[in-house]
Subunit: 409 residues, 4 copies
C-alpha cells in the first residue's frame, strides 16, 4: 500500500506548486477583483482581462505539459495513479482558479469521465475533445429544489418520450458552472420512468446549454456570494426537446452513470480541501509568529501551541485517509473504494473547516475580511458538507459497510 | 437570583415578538433586497424605500412605546433590569433590523451610555437627545489595522495636543455603522501619551464624522459581505483637528470609558445570538418534520433526534448563563459581572454557531443560500468571536478570576 | 424563577459544607481503607470501625439537625424546595459517604418517597420510620440482566399470583445497596401480566430482603470495583412467596410508581455530580499552581488557562440547568419537569466527566491513583450515564418534547 | 511509503490473530480470575495455575516461532520492519496477556533495546539472553513521586559516587512490572550531577532488583486496580550500593538512553491501543445487532449508525498515522520520527478512549462490569495519556516542530 510520493509525480508536484505560487496566485486575486466589471454590468460575463488571465495561464500550463493530470489510469497524458494525482490536487486546492488552469477542475473532470466511459462516439466528437483542450466548460445538472438529494431516487425532473426523442421539463438548481458563458455542455439527470424500480427510474442526457426552453432563473448564493462568473445557477426547463442520441449509456441507467462519476471527484474535492487546510495552518503559524500581544508573539499565548499541534495532527490523518481511499480506487475499483470515499467525504471538509476556523481566529477580524483568503475558504469547505451527498448519508454508508461484516455472524 | 420573566416584562416580550414577526420580518427581507439599488449605485446610500421601511417601523415602535428598552436601571423609559431587557434582546436578535427599529442596536446603545455616563453637558445636548430619538446613528472608533485589539494598550492611533485642541492621525478599521449616511457621531479612542502607564495612555473623543481630514478608505468585508449601508469601514484620519471639548471624561481616561462601555453591550450581543439559535432550532425542527427522504421525515433519520436534543440543551444552558451575567450586572455592578460577561462572550456565540450549523445541515444546500437567513446568521455569529475581544482573551479572564480564589492558599 | 440561595438555605449550606470538610472527609478516607478488613474476610460486612464512623457521623448530623433535607415540599423537617435542596446535594456530592451521613443518599431517598406517596400504612409502619431515622437502608430492585433497561416495558422478572399472594421468579442485577447488611427493604418491580398494555404490565412490591428464595449471586463490578459493602448485587429470586399486602399502589401500576420515583433522584444525582466537578476544578487549580515544570507552575503551561476557563463555564451552565429543572419540579410538578430532568441527566454527568478528566490530567499519574479521589470520581460519574436511563433515551425525550411544539404546525 | 501488509508479515498476522483468539483469550480470563488466589494471600505472587498458563502459552508461541517480533531491523529473528511489527502489535493489543506470550511486552522490549544498543557485554551476558528467552522480566525505573515527569530534567533520585561505585537514594513510583516475582532487572535513571547541563545530569544504571536497600512500599492503583501480579510499584532506595559496571552507556548520558528507548515503545503502545479500539468497535456492532429495545436492534436507534461510522473513521485515521510514524522510524530514524511519535501518542489513546466509551454505552451497565473487557480497556487507555509523557508535552513537541519550519522565514 504505497501512499507516498512516487518518483514519477515528485517533479510534477514541484512544478505545480511553483506555478501555483508564482504564476497563478497573484493573478487569482486580480481575476476575482475583476468580477462584476464587465461593461454590461453582467457579473456572469468575463471581462477581457479575466479571459486574458485564464487563457494565458492555461496556455502556460499546456506549454509546460501540466495538463489533464486527472486522467488517471489512462495511457493518454501522464497516466498517473489516483494516489499520485491526489498530491497534485492538494496543491491545486490552495488557489481558487488553479484547478481550472491545469484543466483539472470540477465539474469538468467528472463530466469528461462520463463522456469517456459512457458517452457515444458522437458525444465524444462533439464535446470531449474540446473539454480536454480546455476550450469549453460544462455543468452537471442533477440537484432539484424540492427534493432531498440525499435520496436521489426521489429526483423527479421529467424526461418524457415524444416522437423519436425526449422532452425535458422541470427545475434544477445549484448547477455549478452554468453561469459561465463558456459552458458548452450540460449532463442532465432526469426521471424517465417514475414507476420503474428505484435505480432504473432515471436517464442521463448530454445536451447543449443553448437548447431552446432552458432559462437561467437566478444564481444561487453561497453564504451571500454568487461565485460569478462560474455561478451555481437555478435553471428552468420548459418543453426542452432533444434527440434520442442525447441519452448517455442507456435509458434507465442514469444511476449507474451517476455512481461511476462520483468516486474520483470526491477524492479530488477532499484533497483540495486538505490543500486549503495546509494553507490555513501555514497562515496561522506565520500570523502567530509575526503578531504580538502582551509583549509576546501570539503563538506563545493561550492554547495556541495546542491549536497548531491539533491542526497538524488532524491534517496528517485526513490526508492519509484520502490517500488510502485513492489507493483503494486504484487497486480495487470504485465499488470497493466506496466506503473509503464516504469516510473522507465526511472527514476532510470537517477537518479543513476546523483548521481554517482556527486560522481565522488567529488573524482576528482581518481573518474574515477581504485581506485574506480565509473567509472564502471557510465558507467554501462548508459547502462540501453537502456537495456530492451530505455527511449524514456518508456516515450511514460507512456504518452499513461496517455492520455488513457481522451479517452472517 | 430571579432569572425569570417578570410581570413587568412579560407583556413587552409578547409585544416585541409580535411586532418582530408580523411587522418587521417581512420588511427586513425587502430592506435587504434594496441594498445597492440607490440610483447613484452607491451601496452605502439608502434607497427611498429603505428609509421608508426604517422610519415607518421606528415610528410604529415609538407609537407603541416599544423604544429604548436598553436604558436599564434608569428612571427614564421602562427602567427595566438587565435581566428583563435580556429577554427582549433575544427576541430582537431573530431579525436583522429589529434592534434598530426599537432603538436598541449596537453600537448606538453603548455610545449613548458613554455620553450619558461620561459625556459633558455639551456632548449630551449635541448628540444624546437625537440618538435617543433615533434621528441619528453613531460609531465607536477603536480597532486599528496593525494592532492586536486583544491587547488594547497597544493601540497607537495618535492624538497630539496642538493649540488648545487636539490633532488626530492614523487609521482605524472595522468601524461599524460608519457607512450609514445617518451616522452623526464618532466616539474615538486615541493614544494621547504613549509613555504614560499602560491604562492611562489613551483618551476618548466625541466628534462629528464630517470633521475635515477623515476619509473612508473602503468597506471591510465580512465573509465577502459589506453589510451596506451600515458597513464596517476602514477610515483614515489625517490631521483631524478637534477642540479640547471633544474629550470624554478626561485626558488619559480612555480605558476607563472603554471598560464601562463594554459590559452591557456584550450581554446584548449574546442574548441576540441566543435569539438566533432559537430561530435556527425552530427552523431545523420544521424542516426536519416537513422534508422527507427514504420515506421518512428527516428528523427520524440518522442522528437528528440527538442533534435537536443537543441544540435544545445547549441553548438553555447558554441562556441561563447570560441571564446570570445580566443579574450580576444588575445586582453587583459591571466590575463584579466582568468574569460572567467573559463567560457568556465565549459560550453564546460558539453555541449559536453550532446550532445554526446543524440547522444549515438539515436544510441541505438551501441552508447556505439566499432562501433562508441561516447563511447570514452563521457568518454573523462567527464575527462575534472577535467583536469586543476574542475568545482567547475572555477565557484568560475567566481562568484568572478562577485562580485568584487560590491566591492566598 | 428564583434559582438563588435563599436566606433559609444559606446557613444550612454553610453547616453542611463545614461538616463535610471537617468531620466527614477525613473519616471517609478511613472508612474506605477499612473495606475488606472484616475478620470474616467478607467485604460485604462492615468492620466495627466502619459502623462506628457511620453511626458517629449520623448521630452528629442528627444532633445538629442536618437530616433528611431531601424531604422537599413537606411540612416535616425543613420543607426545603427542590432548588434549595439542590445546593445541599451539591455539597454532599463532594465526599463519598456524606449523603448517607445526612440521611440523603440514594436509593433510600427515592424508596422513602415511594413509601410516603404510594405505600400502605402497613408499609409505612414497617419501613418508613426506620428509614427516616437512618436505622436501616434499602434497595430498588429493577434492572435485569437480559433486558435493555432503556425500554422498561420489556422487563420480565415474573410475579405470579398464587393463593392470595404472589410468587416472584427471575434475576435482577445492579441492585445498589443490596450488599449492605443493614439493607432492610427491597422495592421490586415485576412483570405481573405480560399481556397487558405496555404500561400496565408491571407491579411494584415492597418486601424484606430476608424473604426465603432470594440469593445474592455476586457483586457486580464497576470498573473493577465492587463498592463494598454497599455493593451492586446480582440477585436470583426462586419461588419467593409474598403476601398480597406487598403490592405498592396497585397491581399493574408499577410504571406509575417508577415514574414518580425518578424525578427528584435524578436531580440529586446531577447536583452531586456538579459537586464533584467543583471539587475536581478546585483540585486542578491547586495542583496547577503548586506543581512546576520547565520553571513555571503548570497552570501557565500549554492550554491550562483555557482548560480551567472551560471547566468553570461548563460547571456554571450545568448547575443553572439543574437548578432550573429543580425549579420546574417545585413549581410545575414532576411531569412538566420531565424534559428538564432529561436534559440535566445528559448534561451533568458528561460535564463532570470532562472536568474530572482534565483534573486527572493536571495531576499526572497521581490523578489515577489511590492518592486522590479523582480516579473514583471519574469512574463514578461515568456510571451515571446509564443509571436511571442511558443518555440516548434522555436525548430522545428532549427531542420529542421539542418536536411536539410543532405537532399542530 | 508502503504502509500496507507485506507478504512477509501477512501469514504472521494470521497466526498471531488465530493464537490470540483461540489459545490466549480463554486463558487470559482464567489468568485474571486467579489473581489473589495464591495460598499466601499475596496478590503479587503467581498461583501455580497462572504460571502454568503463562509458561504453556509462551512455550507454544516459541514452538510456533511466534516470538520476539519486536526485534525490528535486526538480522536475528524475523527482522521485521516497524511497520510490519505494528500490525502484529495491534493484534496483541486485543487480549491482556497476549503481548507477554509472544515476548513482546512492555517494559521488556524497551529494556532489551537498551541493553542491546547501550549495554556492556557483561550486561548482555547477564540479562539480555534471559529476557530474549522470556525467562525473566524487567522494569524501567524512572518516574518519581515529587517531580512532574513531563520535565524529566527535574528528576532528582540521587546517584552518588562512592568508592569505585555508586550509591542510590530516593523514591520511584509507577514502576510497572516490579510486582512480578520474575522481574530480574531494573534499569534505573538517577541524577548523578544536579549541577551539570540539563541533559547531562542523569545516568542510567542496570541492576538486580534484589540489591540490598530496595523496598517495595506499595502497589500504585490504577483506577482502584493494582494490576497484580505485574503491578506498578512505589519503591524506596536507601543507600543502594552498586558497582561502576552498572552504568549504561556512560555517566551523564541517561537522557540519551531514555530518548533512544522511547520511540519504538510508544509506537507499540499506540498500535495495541488501536487493537483495543478495533475490538471495542466489533463488540459495539455485535451488541447493537443482538440487543433490542423498542422493537428494534439497538443499532437502528438514536445516533448509533453515526457513532459506529465515526468510530470506524477515527480508527482508520489513527492507524494510518501510527503506520506512518513506524515508517518514519524505519526509514528516517528515531530522531526524525520523533514528532510523528508525539502525534500518535496524543491521537491513538484519545481515539481508543472515545471508541471504547461508546462501546460501553452500547452495552449499558454490563459494559462497565466484569462481564466484558471494556471497563478495563477504558481505564487502561486512559493511563496511556500519561505513560511516556502526557499529551500536553507531546502536543508541545508537535507545535514546536511545526513552527520551526518558519524559523528562518
Amino acid at each position: 500500500m504505497d501512499l507516498g510520493i512516487t518518483e514519477k509525480v515528485r517533479p510534477l508536484i514541484a512544478q505545480v506548486r511553483e506555478m501555483v505560487e508564482t504564476d497563478i496566485a497573484p493573478l487569482d486575486a486580480e481575476f476575482h477583483a475583476e468580477v462584476g466589471k464587465h461593461p454590461s454590468g453582467d457579473r456572469f460575463k468575463h471581462t477581457d482581462r479575466q479571459l486574458e488571465i485564464l487563457d494565458g495561464l492555461k496556455a502556460l500550463a499546456r506549454e509546460r505539459g501540466l495538463w489533464n493530470f486527472w486522467l488517471t489510469g489512462s495511457d493518454r497524458g501522464y497516466g498517473l495513479s489516483t494516489v499520485e494525482y491526489a498530491y497534485l490536487a492538494e496543491e491545486m486546492g490552495k488557489v481558487g482558479i488553479a484547478a481550472e488552469v491545469f484543466n483539472c477542475s470540477a465539474p469538468d473532470t467528472g463530466n469528461m469521465e462520463v463522456l469517456e466511459r459512457y458517452g457515444t462516439q458522437a458525444h465524444k466528437d462533439r464535446w470531449l475533445g474540446r473539454l480536454l483542450a480546455g476550450e469549453i466548460r460544462s455543468s452537471y445538472v442533477m440537484t432539484e429544489p424540492d427534493t432531498a438529494s440525499s435520496d436521489a431516487a426521489q429526483l423527479r425532473f421529467e424526461a418524457r418520450r415524444e416522437g423519436g426523442g425526449w422532452v425535458l421539463n422541470g427545475e434544477k438548481w445549484w448547477i455549478s458552472g452554468a453561469g459561465d458563458p463558456r459552458c458548452g455542455l450540460y449532463i442532465v439527470m432526469a426521471c424517465s420512468d417514475p414507476d420503474a424500480p428505484k435505480h432504473q427510474r432515471h436517464t442521463m442526457f448530454a445536451l447543449d446549454p443553448d437548447t431552446p426552453g432552458i432559462e437561467v432563473l437566478r444564481p444561487m448564493q453561497v453564504f451571500g456570494q454568487d461565485d460569478a462568473p462560474h455561478g451555481h445557477m437555478h435553471l428552468r426547463f420548459t418543453d426542452v426537446r432533444i434527440g434520442a442520441d442525447a441519452v448517455v449509456l442507456g435509458e434507465g441507467r442514469g444511476f449507474e452513470v451517476a455512481q461511476g462519476r462520483l468516486g474520483p471527484g470526491r477524492i479530488h474535492h477532499c484533497m483540495r480541501a486538505i490543500g486549503q487546510a495546509e494553507k490555513a495552518l501555514s497562515m496561522m503559524c506565520m500570523r502567530g509568529l509575526d503578531r504580538e500581544a502582551f509583549g509576546k508573539p501570539l503563538v506563545e499565548l493561550g492554547a495556541n501551541y495546542d491549536i497548531i499541534a491539533n491542526a497538524r495532527m488532524e491534517i496528517e490523518m485526513a490526508r492519509l485517509l484520502c490517500l488510502k481511499a485513492a489507493w483503494m480506487m486504484d487497486t480495487a475499483g470504485v465499488r470497493a473504494a466506496q466506503p473509503w470515499i464516504s469516510k473522507i467525504k465526511v472527514v476532510a471538509p470537517l477537518m479543513a473547516g476546523r483548521v481554517i476556523d482556527e486560522a481565522i481566529q488567529m488573524h482576528g477580524a482581518a481573518g474574515i475580511s477581504q485581506e485574506y483568503d480565509l473567509a472564502h475558504m471557510w465558507t467554501h469547505v462548508r459547502t462540501l458538507r453537502f456537495a456530492d451527498g451530505p455527511d449524514a448519508v456518508h456516515r450511514r454508508q460507512v456504518a452499513r459497510a461496517e455492520l455488513r461484516k457481522y451479517a452472517d455472524g
